[in-house]
C-alpha cells in the first residue's frame, strides 16, 4: 500500500469579478497516492485548470480560496503565504501548463531556464553539473541536448512541449500536474508525447495529475479518473470503473459520446444544452438542467459526494447502474 501524498478536502475557490462571484471550484475532495496517476476530465470551463492552479496556489489576482484544505505530505498549503509556498513549487509539485507553447520566456536560452529552476531549488549545482543535468533531461524527453543553447523561438511546438516537460521533471518532483499538455499539438505528436510522459512517470515513480477535456486521452494514462462538472467533482473512481460502470448521469453521457470501435453498437446519446455560467450556478445538483433523470430533489438539494462501493465516489441522487 503506497502512501497518500496529496489530500484535497472540500476545496472551494472563487473568482471575484465585476459581474459577481464565479464559483469555479466548489467543495472538491480527492486524494492521490505516491506513484499514482489521476485524470481530471470535464468540458471546457468546468474548473479543471482552476483546481490545478489552486494546488500550487498559483492563483489569479481575483481568485480566493474560500475553504478546504490542500494537504501535501501533511502540510496544508491553504494558509501558507507566497513566500512559504515557494520551496514546494517545482521542487515538490511542478506543472506542464495548458499553454505550454508560451510557457518559456522568449529572451532566455531554454537550457538556462531549466538551470534556473535547478539553481533555485537544488542550489548545490555548479554550472557544469547543471548543464550535465539538462543534458540528461533532454535525452530523457527525446530532445537533442545541443538544443539547450537555443532560444524558444527556434523550437517547433512539439520540441517546446518536450522542453517544458524536461523542465517540469528537472527537480525530481513528487507530483507533476499536466494541464492539457498536448492540446496545441497535432494528433500524432500528442499521442507520442502522452505515452512518453506516462513512461517517464513510471520510470521515475512520481505521481501525476493529467487534465484534459477528452476522456479518451485521459483514459490511456490514468489509474483513476475524476469527472468535473461546473466546478464540482461529480464522480471519482478507477479508470476501469469509470469506463465500465459509470454512476453519474454526466459520466454516462460522456462515455456514450465516446465512440467505441470494438464494443456493441450503442445509441449515441449526445448531451443537449450548455454547461452553466458559473456566475449563476444552478440550485441543487448543478447538472439538473441537462440531466434526463432529474427530479424535484435534484433541483432543491445538492447530492452528497459519497462512496458507492469500493472507492467509487459520485454525487447523484439517482445513481445509474449501467454496464458499458
Amino acid at each position: 500500500m503506497s502512501e497518500t501524498i496529496l489530500r484535497v478536502e472540500n476545496l472551494t475557490m472563487h473568482y471575484t469579478t465585476r459581474a459577481g462571484i464565479v464559483s469555479a471550484v466548489d467543495d472538491v475532495s480527492f486524494t492521490l497516492d505516491e506513484g499514482e496517476s489521476l485524470g481530471l476530465v470535464g468540458e471546457s470551463g468546468c474548473g479543471k485548470t482552476s483546481v490545478a492552479n489552486s494546488l500550487l496556489k498559483l492563483l489569479a489576482d481575483n481568485a480566493v480560496i474560500k475553504g478546504g484544505q490542500i494537504r501535501f505530505k501533511g502540510t496544508d498549503f491553504v494558509p501558507l503565504s507566497e513566500e512559504e509556498m515557494r520551496p514546494y513549487r517545482w521542487r515538490n509539485i511542478s506543472m506542464v501548463f495548458q499553454a505550454a507553447m508560451n510557457s518559456l520566456n522568449p529572451v532566455y536560452r531554454v537550457g538556462d531556464q531549466i538551470i534556473e529552476a535547478l539553481e533555485t531549488h537544488l542550489g548545490l549545482y555548479s554550472h557544469a553539473q547543471a548543464r550535465q543535468r539538462v543534458t540528461e533531461l533532454f535525452t530523457m524527453v527525446g530532445l537533442d541536448p545541443a538544443l539547450m543553447d537555443q532560444y524558444p523561438h527556434e523550437y517547433s511546438g512539439g520540441m517546446r512541449q518536450r522542453a517544458v516537460i524536461a523542465m517540469a521533471l528537472s527537480c525530481n518532483p513528487d507530483l507533476v500536474i499536466a494541464d492539457e499538455p498536448t492540446t496545441a499539438l497535432d494528433v500524432i505528436v500528442q499521442d507520442a508525447l502522452l505515452r512518453q510522459l506516462k513512461t517517464l512517470q513510471e520510470m521515475i515513480g512520481m505521481s501525476m495529475i493529467y487534465i484534459s477535456h477528452d476522456i479518451a486521452v485521459i483514459a490511456e494514462v490514468s489509474d483513476r479518473i475524476g469527472v468535473m462538472y461546473a466546478g464540482k467533482l461529480v464522480e471519482l473512481a478507477s479508470a476501469d470503473e469509470i469506463f465500465h460502470h459509470p454512476v453519474h448521469p454526466y459520466t454516462v453521457a460522456l462515455m456514450s459520446a465516446f465512440p467505441s470501435v470494438t464494443g456493441p453498437k450503442r445509441e449515441l446519446q449526445t448531451l443537449a444544452g450548455e454547461p452553466p455560467n458559473l456566475l449563476y450556478p444552478p440550485s441543487g445538483c448543478r447538472f439538473h438542467p441537462r440531466c434526463p433523470f432529474a427530479t424535484e430533489i435534484c433541483r432543491q438539494q445538492e447530492p452528497e459526494f459519497k462512496d458507492h462501493g469500493g472507492g467509487h465516489y459520485a454525487a447523484c441522487w439517482h445513481p445509474q447502474e449501467v454496464t458499458v
Binding site: 513549487r89 508560451n102 549545482y125 554550472h127
Partner: protein, 383 residues
C-alpha cells in the same frame, strides 16, 4: 549582423544627404543674409555691405554655393563661422559638442533608468497611493513648459537653496589658475565615462555565468573597484577639483532634463510591464518557485523593456529639442546654444554645422538603439 549594419550605414548616408539638401534649402529660404545685420549701422555703406557679402560668397547663386558646400563638406571643411570669425565651424563643434553629448547622454540614461525602475514598481504593486502621485506628477512634468520649468529649477535649487551654481559650465574664479583648459578636463571626463561603461559591461558579460548568489557580490565588487580606480586616478592627476566643478555645473541641467522626460519611459514601462505580467511564462516563473524579485526583474521587466527601448528612438527628437531649450535656460555652452544664436544672426555655416551634428548624432543614436535591440531580443535576426 555585419551585413545589416552595412545596409543601415548606407541608408543613413542617403538620409543624411537628403537632410543636408533640405536644411540648405530652408536656410536659403530665409529672407536676408548676414551682411544685412549691419543695415542699421550708419558707418557701413551699401558698398561696404556688399563687399562683406561678396567676401563671404553670399553674392553667388544658391545652387553654386550648395555644390561648393558639399565639395568642402566631403573634404571635412564646414567653412568659417561668421559670428566667431575667423574660427572654423569644425573647431567650434569640436569644442561644444562634447558638452552637449554629456548633457544629453547622462540625462537620457538617468531618465531611462529612473523611468524604467519606477514604471516597473508601479506595475508590480498596483493601486497604491504612490501610483497616483507618481503618475500625476510624472505627466505634469512631461507636459510642462520647459523654459518655465528650467527657470523654476534654477530659482529653487540654485538661487533659493544655493545647492548648485546658477547656469554656465564652470566657475571662472576657480579656473583662473588652472593648469589646463576646461575642455581638456571635460574631454577626459567623457573618456573616463566611456572606458568605465565599456569595462563594466565586459565585466558583467564575463561574469553572467556565475551562480546567482556569488554573482551579486562579484558585480557590486566590480563596480566598487571601478569607482575606486577612477577616483584614484583623478585624485592623483590633481585635476579632481576641476572635474568636480564641472560635474557640479552639470547636475542641475541633467536633473531638469531627467524630470521632464522620465515620465514617458515610466508610463510606457508600466503599461508594457502590466501586459508582460499576463504572459504565460510569468505563470511558469511563479510555478517554478522563483523569488519575487527574480520574477519581477529577470522575467517580467526584461521583456517589458523591449518596447521601451524601441520608444527611445522616438523620444530622441523630444530630448534634442528639450536639450536646446535647457541649454539656453542654463546658459550651458553647448551645441543647442550655438544653434540658437547662429539662427538669430544668420550665421549659415555655423548653423549648417550644428544641424549636421544633430543629424549625425540622431542617425547614429538610432543605429545604436537598433543594434541594442537585436542584443536584447533574440527573436530579432538582422541580415
Amino acid at each position: 549582423m555585419a551585413r545589416y549594419i552595412a545596409q543601415r550605414l548606407l541608408q543613413i548616408i542617403l538620409t543624411f544627404f537628403l537632410f543636408l539638401a533640405l536644411s540648405y534649402m530652408l536656410l536659403e529660404a530665409m529672407p536676408g543674409d548676414f551682411s544685412q545685420l549691419f543695415l542699421q549701422d550708419p558707418k557701413l555703406t551699401l558698398a561696404q555691405r556688399e563687399a562683406i557679402a561678396a567676401s563671404l560668397g553670399l553674392n553667388r547663386p544658391p545652387h553654386e554655393r550648395f555644390f561648393r558646400y558639399i565639395g568642402s563638406f566631403l573634404r571635412g571643411d564646414l567653412g568659417v563661422s561668421f559670428q566667431y570669425y575667423p574660427r572654423p565651424v569644425v573647431d567650434v563643434i569640436l569644442e561644444r559638442a562634447p558638452r552637449t553629448l554629456m548633457l544629453f547622454i547622462s540625462s537620457t540614461v538617468v531618465s531611462f533608468y529612473v523611468g524604467f525602475f519606477v514604471g516597473k514598481l508601479l506595475a508590480w504593486r498596483r493601486g497604491r497611493v504612490l501610483e497616483y502621485i507618481t503618475t500625476v506628477g510624472g505627466v505634469t512634468l512631461y507636459t510642462v513648459f520647459t523654459p518655465w520649468f528650467g527657470l523654476l529649477m534654477i530659482w529653487l535649487f540654485a538661487f533659493t537653496l544655493d545647492w548648485f551654481p546658477i547656469g554656465k559650465f564652470i566657475t571662472p574664479r576657480l579656473w583662473r589658475d588652472a593648469p589646463v583648459e576646461a575642455n581638456v578636463v571635460f574631454n577626459r571626463m567623457l573618456l573616463t565615462a566611456l572606458v568605465v561603461s565599456i569595462v563594466l559591461l565586459t565585466w558583467f558579460i564575463l561574469t553572467r555565468r556565475i551562480d546567482t548568489r556569488r554573482r551579486r557580490v562579484v558585480h557590486w565588487g566590480g563596480m566598487g573597484l571601478g569607482l575606486a580606480v577612477v577616483v584614484g586616478i583623478w585624485g592623483a592627476s590633481g585635476l579632481g577639483p576641476y572635474a568636480l566643478n564641472i560635474l557640479h555645473h552639470l547636475m542641475l541641467p541633467v536633473l531638469t532634463l531627467t524630470l521632464i522626460s522620465f515620465a514617458g519611459t515610466m508610463l510606457l514601462t508600466r503599461n508594457s510591464m502590466l501586459e508582460t505580467l499576463r504572459e504565460d511564462y510569468i505563470t511558469t516563473a511563479r510555478a517554478k518557485g522563483l523569488p519575487e524579485k527574480v520574477i519581477r526583474d529577470k522575467h517580467a521587466a526584461r521583456n517589458a523593456m523591449l518596447p521601451v527601448v524601441t520608444s527611445l528612438v522616438f523620444s530622441l527628437a523630444f530630448a534634442l529639442s528639450g536639450g536646446v531649450i535647457t541649454e539656453g535656460v542654463f546658459s550651458w555652452p553647448g551645441m543647442g546654444e550655438v544653434l540658437l544664436t547662429s539662427a538669430v544672426v544668420q550665421d549659415i555655416p555655423m548653423m549648417m554645422g550644428a544641424l549636421i551634428f544633430t543629424a549625425i548624432f540622431a542617425l547614429l543614436a538610432h543605429l545604436v538603439v537598433d543594434i541594442l535591440y537585436a542584443f536584447l531580443d533574440p527573436r530579432i535576426r538582422y541580415g
